[in-house]
Symmetry: D3
Subunit: 237 residues, 6 copies
Amino acid sequence: MRPSGRALNAMRPIIIETQVTRYAEGSCLIKCGETQVICTATVEERVPPFLKNSGKGWVTAEYGMLPRATHSRMRREAKNGQSGRTQEIQRLIGRSLRAGVDFQALGERQIQIDCDVIQADGGTRCASITGGWVALKLAVQKLMAAGLVKTDPILDHVAAVSCGIYAGQAVVDLDYAEDSEAGTDGNFVMTGRGKLIEVQASAEGATFARSELDALMDLAEAGVSELVEAQKAAVSA
Amino acid sequence: MRPSGRALNAMRPIIIETQVTRYAEGSCLIKCGETQVICTATVEERVPPFLKNSGKGWVTAEYGMLPRATHSRMRREAKNGQSGRTQEIQRLIGRSLRAGVDFQALGERQIQIDCDVIQADGGTRCASITGGWVALKLAVQKLMAAGLVKTDPILDHVAAVSCGIYAGQAVVDLDYAEDSEAGTDGNFVMTGRGKLIEVQASAEGATFARSELDALMDLAEAGVSELVEAQKAAVSA
Amino acid sequence: MRPSGRALNAMRPIIIETQVTRYAEGSCLIKCGETQVICTATVEERVPPFLKNSGKGWVTAEYGMLPRATHSRMRREAKNGQSGRTQEIQRLIGRSLRAGVDFQALGERQIQIDCDVIQADGGTRCASITGGWVALKLAVQKLMAAGLVKTDPILDHVAAVSCGIYAGQAVVDLDYAEDSEAGTDGNFVMTGRGKLIEVQASAEGATFARSELDALMDLAEAGVSELVEAQKAAVSA
Amino acid sequence: MRPSGRALNAMRPIIIETQVTRYAEGSCLIKCGETQVICTATVEERVPPFLKNSGKGWVTAEYGMLPRATHSRMRREAKNGQSGRTQEIQRLIGRSLRAGVDFQALGERQIQIDCDVIQADGGTRCASITGGWVALKLAVQKLMAAGLVKTDPILDHVAAVSCGIYAGQAVVDLDYAEDSEAGTDGNFVMTGRGKLIEVQASAEGATFARSELDALMDLAEAGVSELVEAQKAAVSA
Amino acid sequence: MRPSGRALNAMRPIIIETQVTRYAEGSCLIKCGETQVICTATVEERVPPFLKNSGKGWVTAEYGMLPRATHSRMRREAKNGQSGRTQEIQRLIGRSLRAGVDFQALGERQIQIDCDVIQADGGTRCASITGGWVALKLAVQKLMAAGLVKTDPILDHVAAVSCGIYAGQAVVDLDYAEDSEAGTDGNFVMTGRGKLIEVQASAEGATFARSELDALMDLAEAGVSELVEAQKAAVSA
Amino acid sequence: MRPSGRALNAMRPIIIETQVTRYAEGSCLIKCGETQVICTATVEERVPPFLKNSGKGWVTAEYGMLPRATHSRMRREAKNGQSGRTQEIQRLIGRSLRAGVDFQALGERQIQIDCDVIQADGGTRCASITGGWVALKLAVQKLMAAGLVKTDPILDHVAAVSCGIYAGQAVVDLDYAEDSEAGTDGNFVMTGRGKLIEVQASAEGATFARSELDALMDLAEAGVSELVEAQKAAVSA
């Protein structure tokens, strides 16, 4: 019944290739089906003004898309400025990743996460969070290996999946064909231990019942578990 | 225990004064405690390009704050451009209000909602949605009275309340003192019949459990009911 | 003969409500007929770079309009940047208020005046100057009450009125209906003692004679006297 | 007593060289003492949207300065955007020139005036108006010679001079040394017949009396007469 | 003697993988050593205004870099606008590719080339031209296969290589280590038949003799031949 | 055969008037035929951040055009931002002039070159380089006369000429009529001793052979010699 033929609770194949660029302190290419995002982590020995001399670090994120990552070409944001959607997404990525970090342990430095979508087939913000965490973790491992950080500041995994009501049924990990038709669409960001970081569910054309939100949450919990397993395999490789 | 002395489930006083400006087709000043927002609805006999010749209408929203609406003065966005936060909020307001409108019934015209915060004490985006709906409804009543719209395009009330975990307890309708300290913070947009339009819950410092989200939802349902009563009183006045 | 039925030298009713916001050090809502402007004064313990370590303070102003303050909705400047007209007006407001302040007495701090038009029916720049002075005076009273300023830096009242040639006659305090038809339009900023701070008179469609400018000045002198009385009542309340 | 040794009512030497560029329909280089402005008029067979199909024309103006036209180099506006001051000046130039044009006679076309300051020694906006009128007149002569315009749309000369209170005395045509020290500074735009188009007088540090404004006006009337004579010589050459 | 140990006339390994994205009409990932660029071609059934109703087509290009494509992270242009360097490069890419296209044969449509650098190790603009041509050719093949274009509008190959004077010797295909130290640096764009499209040679610290430019040209001719062979293999695969 | 009737190797008349502005440390008006550029040099006792405390100086350049310097009026860049073309040109001017300066000898100060085109008839970037060098040299002479610089930091002349293939023949110093029709167009920046600083040759419609580039280089060498003679006369005047 789903355009892809997947079961209602079936995630797309998840592939996480690590250290895909020469220069970044941490990096990965995450593929969730046809969605592909390059995530890099850059360690900077400076912090935003409000943290100067606090002894605490920071994590922030930026998000972009290649103009032809999508079915129809989108305007290049470098020429037109970031859209409201882009800003909303990168704020979500940064907020989500920060929820899993001990900034005292990180020390007064910033890790900048860049998520650039190479190909988009739905779920790019969730893939960015899941892949962004891998890049972040790898960069932290490098800081610890170099003795610059003593205690692991990464408190837990952070991963995200989209769920929605498609053709009247709750489904997990929507691709573009489903996303563009879904009546309700939600993004669920969770930790490795199953705690919630961010829940965003939105009616697109039809309102939804609390019982439907519950069904989406059930799917999300199972989906995030799979993503966390893929993260574990990636960072221990 | 709450800074204001309110019970955990106690909303702030809600005051909605209608037709507060001479020119707008619909308008109100909504006060949720010390938070004050002027909401206006402007009817425009044009639609965005993607709706040209579709016979369907549109509702869109913009949000702003007077620079000294806040405790410390904020930079004027007219000089600096809209922040990511502002864009995120106005996208939410527009999306929320659209969920309660039948665009076929509205006909090919646009209603522009402007929400300008005069004084901010927490919950400005929720007050903007609740007050924006009143302005929208009043403008539609005017269109119907003039015979320009035959069937009421307003399908249901749309109202919003914030809930959060403050000092370990679930509380409704956070003021600024609570909002700035809350471990988890959520905005719940619902219809008059209790269906969900948008749920946004976000960990601020501490992750949250699904049971906590459930507690927030319980508070939100009750809170939105009160807001809907206030809307009813306002638009029938 | 005037659209409002007023006599040629009749001002609109002036209402100045003070301390209309919780946070600003000084504030008022000024109503000149249907024109309504919220004016706030923010005290900042810093000065522009050219005054660093001079021992002297500064007063500056910004001006804005709610998009639906006008008969037809105007584009939100936060999305489009400040227009040339807006910049011209806020430069005038700042220049006018500075003419009545002793910056040595104020000490090395800045007072930022914000004038936001809630409803526009002509004369918004004049109302902003008159109301901006009230907000400024109230903020200075607070600084003096706190012992931060010893000598009153407010040298005199500053108030402004528009006058113009409407239907061939000199009239005072033009409303929008007159303003949009006036052949000549002028703004007169004066002190409480009747000295001039700024005179701006401009032909709109027809040039004017020096005798006509004299007639406008006569009206302005009387009009500003009334405004100064209203200011006195407001700040001593 | 004046830095230049001029008498209180002595203008600086006025030189107007016409047709200084190959391409513009009308052009001049105006020199008022050391102030030098290139003014060009461009005829465009289009009008702003609000005049489409009205049969009426338009005149508009833009103003700029070479970065090193001034004593200290100023930032290039092409890199930083036009300042509020620049926008205010070009609005004044356009408004002033329009006051002397019959747009019905001009027909549905626009004349764009560009005023670019090559060297600045005070009075650049006044020189721009006076020189801009010459460029405008020359372009109109060309349109009439070509038979495109039948009735002369130029109703009268438009010229401008600055006057101010320097060292307690009213003086005409301030240079930079005077302008930067003047207590009051005014710009007076007038027609060839001595009617007023725009009066802008502003206190800079000290307020001024109505009698002082009268003295400035007397000086301005005489000064503009001299400028008009120079214009006549230039356009009949 | 070269940091990489390459001979003076040795190119880096060239790898061109085609159709690397799902959506673009033509695409490739070009690797010149460690430099990697994703090139896509988008066919648009519209042309710039100056070609409307001309029967002729157009090719244009945009260029970007992922922020961490470089050794140190660069600021994201979507947040800061395109730099002068970026604009210069994308103008070069477009101009170069257009030199090899018959726009009459292409018909009134535009092909938009996007070159996004994933990893930068010198020579990104040359790799963008060489890879951009492959994407363009593949898109044209698709148009011809669909019968939309009858005569092949691709007149010849277009490829580019950098050459420079490094440590006093002429070398081909500079990597970043050489590029940042080179006394003279040039980019040579040529056709498959060895004709020149663009030559840009620039002194960086030391001027150069005409005989040195000749030596660079010799190296470039050989280098471009190798690139053209790689292009042939790629588009016939 | 050339539109101007010039021989293939004939330059346009070169006129360089020095010290054309009152304020700049060095300045000239350069006329190459009908092309006219005002070049000024401003000495600033500061350097860009990357040279702080290096003991070395810097030269940078900006380029602009009066809107009606061209046959058809161009949009004012102050209102619209600098075009890619403008940025490319000013980068070239700065790079070219820097190639002839010993920054150690200049000391830690910056010389800002401004090139503003008053009238454009082809070759504006080359005239800007040639005239910019004169302004630079004059400013350095002033610094040396004042004893602020001991050793002349100007290593050699820097001048530039355009050459191109017009109607199948190599010609020097293209005017606009030739430039807009040329098949190949190049800019050649050279020193007084005939060394190369920058070579930019570009196919415009037709590719070119290496032998054609050689012919352009021959013409350029002779042309630059003439320009250098004019520079010598100008700076020793």
